[in-house]
Symmetry: C2
Subunit: 201 residues, 2 copies
DNA sequence: AAAGAACCTTAACCTAGATTAAGGTTTTTA
DNA sequence: TAAAAACCTTAATCTAGGTTAAGGTTCTTT
């Protein structure tokens, strides 16, 4: 539980995150530590913009981000919210080193830990624990995304909204309804109507 | 390119698939070989049904599968087609050992290679190459799924259909339009209308 | 070779959710 | 602390795509 003294405590949440998957010994931490850098992000600040190559795996220590795409007509579509102890990255852009189609923007002031591409590759090549950890992390992300697709195919907007409230009760307090509507794939006006209809029942 | 004589050639496509990610030596193959079993699947046969726990990672050597969910009203929604040299598995059900919400059904007679859960876990624990390979495989699947979600959010049915034809020209020959419509998230009747409108332009 | 099943298309009508517009409230920023 | 920006709601109108129904065609199975 307590970390060796030589590990600065501000990277502790990331170490704890990895420990959810596999035990991390002092050597593993020593390998990770010099490859992680901290950053404070202001509200409305971007850590990725359309057209840029995603250069980092970003671990959120505190705060909240939205990952979204802007369509031809300028509409924003949230594909994911990322909060404490989760990763905010465009995996496709990161690995293929291709320009991203996505924006990643802080909805709240945030504190993140970043790992650069060459550093992550170093970790993969030199310590199989990182391959393992990220395999499992991405499996979980895949399942989350698949459930999202299934919901958007199989359920009405009202059902999706109710399940969102149930599944992310904390997020639904933290976020403005505009952002939730964008995540659900509907307009804020229609969400407003859904909320009225739910109350009147 | 040529495999050692002791490896039966009918597992060759899987070995080649792994070689796309990392070199495989004789020891790796010797570890893999006894943990893979072959199966012939008939058209319309299921390798996974709703309610069952997904027990295998299924590698498709030949044929085509659809992975779909059935909604409350009995409607089918294809989330993915799987053809040669790809994996047909419900990753969520497999790893959590929970009943699946999905069906995986052969659209064409198929030949698959299966790895059981305990065998895959053995490979993960005893040879880090498998963690690596499946990390990369799932990263790619994640990106594919994310693009699908983005398209369904940002584009009209007509645009989605045109991109499908472009991205999977071979599949669009192989599949009936009913199945393509279900993948695009529209009814066969509406796809028929889209096709008519496209021709008349 | 025939019967049944799956598939494709057209067309009339229907609905979930979008759009536009407007007024009020809360939050942010200068 | 005031102006600007973001947010929320309501209501009228509009539209992409669904539903129902029906007829024709092409596979599959016996």
């Amino acid at each position: 539980m307590t970390l060796p003294d030589l590990i600065p405590s501000n990277i502790a949440p990331l170490i704890e995150h990895f420990k959810d998957y596999l035990p991390m010994d002092a050597d593993d931490m020593a390998m990770l530590l010099p490859r992680v850098s901290e950053r404070q992000i202001k509200r409305r600040q971007f850590i990725l913009q359309e057209g840029d190559v995603c250069q980092h795996y970003n671990f959120v220590v505190r705060g909240c981000f939205k990952i979204y795409k802007v369509d031809e007509k300028g509409g924003e579509h949230n594909i994911q919210f990322v909060t404490e102890n989760d990763w905010a990255t465009d995996i496709g852009s990161f690995h293929a080193e291709k320009p991203s189609e996505l924006y990643i923007e802080a909805i709240e002031p945030a504190h993140i830990l970043q790992i650069k591409r060459p550093d992550l590759l170093f970790l993969y090549v030199n310590n199989p624990k990182f391959d393992r950890n990220f395999r499992v992390i991405i499996e979980n992300k895949f399942v989350e995304l698949q459930n999202r697709l299934l919901q958007s195919f199989c359920e009405s907007a009202t059902e999706r909204y109710l399940k969102f409230l149930e599944q992310y009760p904390e997020l639904s307090q933290r976020l403005p309804n505009t952002q939730i509507a964008s995540y659900l794939g509907i307009t804020p006006e229609f969400l407003s109507k859904i909320r009225k209809d739910l109350v009147s029942k």
